[in-house]
């Protein structure tokens, strides 16, 4: 039931739904009729299908379809936004008229005829979900369930979900730019409940799991990924049975390569989204070209990684996406810009304008946030810590943009005692301050890993898919939760 990759040239997908060049012209003319400086029309047709195996049966399915257009009108830094869930010309013009109300002058802008702009393809799909029927999907999740049970006898219950989604978006601008992007997404998750002896020998129960996601088709589930999905789901859960709570307090923290990049996302990424800086409310607002991190730290935000969950061929304002260097050898080099902030700073947008759907106005967002590898051997990093913790997996994080305080929740890890990994630990929150944590990253590993997890970033009520990655790093001090 998925929205298929458009077969025709850019613009024809929505043209067949009645959105002709004449309609586009009339809607944009309406949007700029009150003197707005600029506008964008964002058309979106999305669909998703998911099935769920629970209690030994694949007996739930859900599908979702959504169609509409959002129109944003800009007057200086001010934004008017409205949307329509009908694509007939009158409904679209009504939405445009509503959004136009943000501007108060009577000088309408000219609108150029749309010309399709070609895009790169950062997510080629070999095997589309269109021709994979529900019966075939049922077999896949059944096999995964069986493999999860077979992996460890302590597994008591298994839940598996498999979903695919796709959307066609078309963005049209008054300068004539028209882009069309087809965005696939494939995601699977396994959740296990396990039972076995806990640290003190008494039988306890734990529940956890793993999920993976990427912009791909059926081919995403190659042997390697299926093995990863099953083994991580089971092993991360059984790990919890033997894990303890660390002692609370401030201590050195070693972050394992891959999932630990949630640190980048929370401690650094959000504060470098340019809207917060344009408004002067980010802790990084006055730090451009200044040293904000150890010289070993280089951080990029990249929209172009092949098949990554956070990749986009074009951003949701119609601007080319790119690899943006945020921090270079410890020096702040760029924020992530949408057009609004780029205009404000007199810069080119970085292709970071993203939105959840046509119901939302775009804003600067992360794509795939990555810390480049450094010189250290990961083993050497662990050996360097006398007493601290080694964090392996995480579930969620949060940040205060202005104060800079951030936190992330460690699901699994180990104590480090005299340079060696000690007892397994679980379920503690770790809290710090972004700039302080950056300056305390004093060792960077040579083992960069991009996490396969299906991360979703929330900001101002909008969710977008993101990716993240980093090598093993040492942060000399963070505040770790736990119990005496």
């Amino acid at each position: 039931m998925s929205v298929k990759r458009p077969a025709g040239s850019a613009g024809t997908y929505f043209e067949t739904l009645g959105v002709t060049a004449e309609v586009l012209h009339s809607v944009m003319t309406e949007a700029l009729s009150r003197g707005g400086d600029n506008c964008d029309l964002y058309f979106e047709h999305s669909s998703s299908t998911s099935i769920l195996l629970t209690d030994g049966k694949v007996n739930q399915a859900s599908t979702h379809v959504s169609l509409g257009m959002g129109v944003r009108v800009r007057a200086g830094d001010q934004v008017g936004y409205a949307y329509s869930e009908h694509l007939d010309a009158n409904a679209l013009r009504n939405a445009a008229r509503t959004a136009a109300g943000i501007a108060q002058s009577a000088a309408p802008q000219k609108v150029a005829a749309p010309v399709a702009i070609p895009l790169p393809n950062h997510y080629p799909v070999a095997h589309s979900w269109d021709d994979v029927n529900i019966g075939e999907r049922v077999k896949m999740v059944r096999d995964w369930e069986q493999a999860a049970f077979a992996r460890d006898e302590r597994v008591q219950r298994v839940e598996v979900s498999l979903s695919d989604a796709a959307k066609v978006v078309m963005i049209v601008r008054p300068d004539g730019r028209l882009v069309e992007d087809w965005r696939p997404m494939t995601q699977a998750s396994i959740r296990c409940t396990v039972e076995g002896p806990g640290p003190d020998g008494a039988v306890i129960r734990e529940s956890s799991g793993f999920n993976i996601a990427g912009r791909a088709g059926l081919e995403y589930f190659n042997e390697h990924r299926v093995e990863l999905l099953i083994s991580e789901a089971v092993d991360r859960t059984t790990f919890l049975l033997g894990a303890i709570s660390p002692k609370p307090g401030e201590m050195p923290v070693v972050l394992a390569a891959g999932p630990s990049a949630i640190l980048l996302h929370e401690a650094i990424g959000h504060g470098m989204e340019a809207d917060f800086n344009r408004k002067r409310i980010s802790i990084y607002a006055d730090k451009m070209d200044k040293v904000i991190a150890n010289e070993r730290v280089t951080i990029v935000d990249d929209g172009t990684l092949l098949g990554a969950r956070g990749s986009i061929n074009v951003d949701d304002e119609g601007n080319h996406t790119e690899r943006t260097v945020l921090v270079e050898n410890g020096v702040l080099r760029s924020y992530m810009h949408d057009e609004l902030s780029a205009n404000h700073y007199g810069l080119k947008p970085t292709g970071s304008g993203r939105r959840q759907s046509f119901r939302h106005a775009p804003m600067p967002r992360m794509r795939s946030t990555i810390m480049e590898p450094g010189p250290h051997d990961p083993a050497e990093i662990i050996e360097s810590v006398e007493n601290g913790i080694y964090c392996v997996t995480f579930s969620n994080g949060a940040v205060h943009i202005g104060g800079g305080d951030f936190s992330f929740y460690m699901k699994t890890g180990f104590l480090i005692e005299n340079g060696k990994l000690g007892a397994p630990i679980k379920d503690v929150n770790i809290i710090g301050n972004g700039p302080e944590a950056l300056s305390r990253i004093d060792m960077v590993g040579n083992d960069l890993a991009v996490d396969e997890g299906g991360w979703t970033c929330g900001k101002d009520g909008q969710s977008v898919p993101v990716s993240q990655g980093m090598p093993t790093v040492r942060v000399s001090s963070l505040v770790v939760g736990g119990e005496q």
Binding site: Q60, E85, S207, I281, D405, D427
Partner: protein, 437 residues
């Protein structure tokens, strides 16, 4: 509006049955929304929204699926439902999936709950947001970096129709305003603070002046915050963030968590899970309540329920389907308005009686494990010693077991939070593990 929603819902159920569904439940909804933000004297964003959507639960040959769409034209719905029913036939059967008996269902009329303010439909949002911001900035004379005022209003209606005769509708209005300030601290940090008020009726909103005074006080309180040494001690959780603590209980109360054996409350029904001072209710019939309603997701009539009484867990949250799986009577699968009864002392009285404790006014991240009841949250707030405020704290965590936390529950203050569906007063807990320097 209601007639259109009913017609669409009935049409969806009719098409589904014609195409082979044995039973179906359709939900349709429609809403309008205006959302305006102003920063430092300029309108920043103005959004007007109008949306409509439909979803349907299909029961086809003992198989079950759920589908939603916003394309509600008849021919589009026919195509959509035809594919949905075909897909459902490929699933494995689940004989426990069927609509509840009509005798279990309610009347579905929510008009007695006073959830609609029909007199405030013409609102000048521009003036409203200007006033919020002016009042806010006037109350914060120094250390202010930037201030944002925001207002919103909206109305929504929804309809639920089942193929066995239930029809319910739920219409509400909502109004809110608030402000966020960024302060300039001496160390270059820009700590932020916000507050808001929300109500079903415009006249019930906290006044802009009172709101502004609160935001000012919160903003000033953020300055100079730091972590203090790790310690076990008292924690007074402010009413507006108490839902974070109560939420650690609500997840594991759910029928699916219980059935799937990933709930720390699976063996706790009728047992002591908190100190005897702790009581928790779910009350769907509060007049003008943000979570109020007359029927649940199964179309069953709602009623006030005791979830925890004198510290004992008295109920799980079981819908009709999980009731069948667990072989228990359903109790309703979700919550409406959570209520912790108010206590007798004010927060000032409580704080002035603390030897050592932290008044937590915000959480930052963290999580809880529903299978074990372990939690760990980032916090910020104000440190109290010998009844006196010593300064604000941040970059600290609390961690432990929710059973230990609730076992250390001492009292509720006299200040129920009215701006949402969690009507908890501020809550005092003893012997909470704080981690800091």
């Amino acid at each position: 509006m209601i007639d259109g929603l009913r017609d669409t819902a009935e049409m969806m159920v009719g098409i589904a049955q014609k195409l082979g569904a044995s039973e179906a439940t359709a939900w349709t909804s429609e809403g309008t929304w205006t959302d305006v933000k102003q920063r430092d004297g300029n309108i920043e964003k103005w959004q007007d929204s109008q949306s409509k959507s439909g979803s349907i639960a299909l029961f086809v040959d003992e198989r079950f699926s759920v589908h939603s769409t916003n394309d509600l034209r008849k021919d589009a719905l026919e195509q959509f439902l035809s594919r949905a029913i075909d897909a459902t036939r490929h699933l494995e059967p689940d004989p426990l999936r069927s609509l509840p008996d009509p005798s279990m269902m309610g009347s579905g009329d929510g008009s007695g709950l006073d959830l609609i303010d029909a007199s405030s439909t013409k609102i000048d949002h521009r003036t409203w947001v200007d006033t919020v911001q002016r009042a806010t900035t006037a109350a914060i004379p120094k250390n202010l970096r930037s201030a944002e005022g925001f207002v919103w209003s909206g109305s929504s209606s929804s309809m639920m129709v089942t193929s066995n005769g239930f029809e319910g509708h739920h219409s509400t209005t909502e109004f809110g305003h608030g402000a966020e300030v960024s302060m300039e601290d001496v160390d270059g940090k820009l700590p932020e603070a916000y507050d808001y008020t929300v109500a079903r009726h415009h006249c019930d909103l906290m006044s802009i002046e009172d709101l502004a005074a609160q935001v000012a006080e919160r903003g000033a309180r953020q300055l100079g915050s730091k972590a203090v040494a790790s310690k076990r001690g008292a924690m007074l959780v402010e009413n507006r963030v108490a839902s974070r603590i109560l939420g650690t209980l609500i997840g594991p109360m759910g029928g699916s968590s219980i059935y799937e054996q990933r709930s720390c409350l699976a063996d706790k029904l009728g047992k002591q899970i908190a100190s005897s001072a702790f009581n928790l209710f779910d009350d769907p019939h509060i007049s003008r309540g943000m979570g109020s309603g007359t029927y649940d997701g199964d179309g069953r009539p709602t009623s006030k329920r005791t979830l925890v009484q004198d510290g004992q867990l008295t109920q799980w949250l079981i819908n009709v389907y999980y009731g069948r799986k667990l072989e228990r009577d359903p109790t309703s699968g979700g919550t409406s308005n959570l209520v912790v009864p108010v206590g007798s002392r004010s927060t000032d009285q409580i704080l002035s009686s603390l030897d050592w404790g932290i008044h937590v006014d915000g959480f930052l991240g963290g999580n809880s494990n529903p299978a074990t009841g372990r939690y760990s949250f980032g916090i910020r707030g104000t440190l109290y010693e010998n009844g006196k405020a010593l300064g604000s704290v941040s970059e600290m965590n609390i961690s432990g077991s929710i059973f230990d936390l609730l076992g250390g529950f001492v009292e509720a203050a006299d200040d129920p939070w009215m701006n949402g569906s969690c009507r908890s007063p501020s809550l005092l807990f003893d012997a909470v593990q704080f981690s800091g320097q």
